[in-house]
Symmetry: C2
Subunit: 238 residues, 2 copies
DNA sequence: TCTATTCCCGTACTACGTACGAGAATAGAG
DNA sequence: CTCTATTCTCGTACGTAGTACGGGAATAGA
């Protein structure tokens, strides 16, 4: 049996993964640690994107043989799960809620956005359902505390948390994709030429008109805040 | 040179991919078609998820050799792009805008949600930036027409379109992930046990309280509508 | 009929996730 | 100290990806 509590034939359950620390006080001592491996994987993803996070690459980064990783996580998907919870640790908030839960919620959302922009692989990693690890639970706990003064019941609070995260994820995904294009003048120009060509042939009058406007910049930051305000200010009011 | 206009060393640009039809009136006649290949890939993804959409599998489905696909799309990523635009064809709306642009916009969003639920691989495919193909452009054109009566300027209209899509994508991603868990009683039970254990140890009082509530169902449909209304009703008002 | 062009696709290369199992290190029992 | 059970390490190897390459088949105009 390996370091995690994996045993049966089905995938690792949240209980095996997150609960019960290690009791093995015999046999060879581990040369690495889940922490170190996870951190290395996160560093890789931050620097070069999720696609370079391969078992071989992570192992090399840590100085381990490839197969050694499997003593710390049963498969790559689980490693991703560990990565997500790892970075969620950065969202730890110690300030107690101010009492103005709407303002606090906006702060939370802004934190999440900044967080995802710092770890641009997060939206993709969050696409498939993840069981909340300790850091994610701590963050959830904080959001629930923020929502305490609201009139929402338990289920609604959890729903607000999920929806807010979904909103931020959707927004940031788009923001990141956009930024990726902007980073390449080549692609930006090609896309502009393409859209201009489409607008020019007369079949898309509305698009032509929208594109002909002066095209002021519209900072992503301001846009995010605007939509966020819409969403939150209406919460609790029906 | 192959069927698409690919030539240089950089990736396919939108112009090569979407504009100019085929002029090749010589040489062997194509045995397949971009349409058929794309449709087969979509059918696969709909039925069994994006991960079974491999070049080998699609080729087999169509009755082609694997490498033949590369005459119709320069790489797998482009095939994904074709798939996205292909299904976006289903979003073609012929009804003219009613004049109540908020109501129309809500209709559009509901259409998008239904669409993504029917093609659950869409959120993942939309994560990386896609240049809008003809069907996507037609849909965009419709949304812009819907927004005509609003006071928003061109850039703002485009922004609303992007944000709305991002919102729906975020929401549906979460909805799909949730549904995936619910489909397995095994996983659902494991997760419930895990959360109960976490709540029981006293370190997460807010979570414990939220979980102790009667847990009424909260249909995803109603939740979506509620948040959507928040977002749209506030649009144009500042 | 010849030739240029276009498409078809078998072979093969690299890179991935990971199953298997042999060997190394360690802790307790005798 | 020695023996043994346990735990971790990792080389090898298998199956499956995406796709580069290039030879052969089909077609259209000369």
């Amino acid at each position: 049996m390996s370091r995690d509590g994996r045993s049966g034939t089905e995938g690792v359950g949240p209980e095996e993964l997150w609960l019960r620390p290690g009791e093995p006080r015999r046999g060879r001592r581990p040369s690495f640690s889940r922490e170190a491996i996870t951190a290395a994987a996160v560093a890789l993803a931050d620097a070069q994107g999720l696609e370079v996070v391969t078992m071989r690459r992570v192992a090399a980064e840590v100085g381990a043989g490839v197969m050694s990783l499997y003593s710390y996580a049963p498969d790559k998907d689980t490693l991703l799960e560990l990565m997500v919870d790892h970075v969620t640790g950065e969202l730890a908030v110690t300030d107690p809620p101010s009492g103005d839960w709407r303002a606090d919620l906006k702060t939370v959302a802004r934190l999440q956005r900044a967080h995802m922009l710092r770890h641009p692989w997060l939206p993709a990693a969050l696409l498939t359902h993840r069981v909340p690890g300790p850091n994610t639970l701590a963050f959830l706990e904080h959001v629930l505390a923020v929502l305490r003064p609201s009139r929402l019941d338990g289920a609604a609070k959890l729903e607000v948390f999920a929806q807010l995260t979904a909103f931020v994820t959707g927004h940031v995904s788009h923001e990141i994709a956009q930024a990726a294009v902007s980073r390449s003048p080549e692609r930006t120009a090609a896309e502009a030429r393409y859209l201009a060509a489409v607008a020019a042939d007369g079949s898309h009058p509305q698009l032509a008109e929208a594109l002909s406007a002066p095209r002021r910049p519209l900072s992503p930051d301001a846009t995010f805040t605007r939509f966020l305000n819409r969403l939150i200010d209406g919460l609790d009011t029906d």
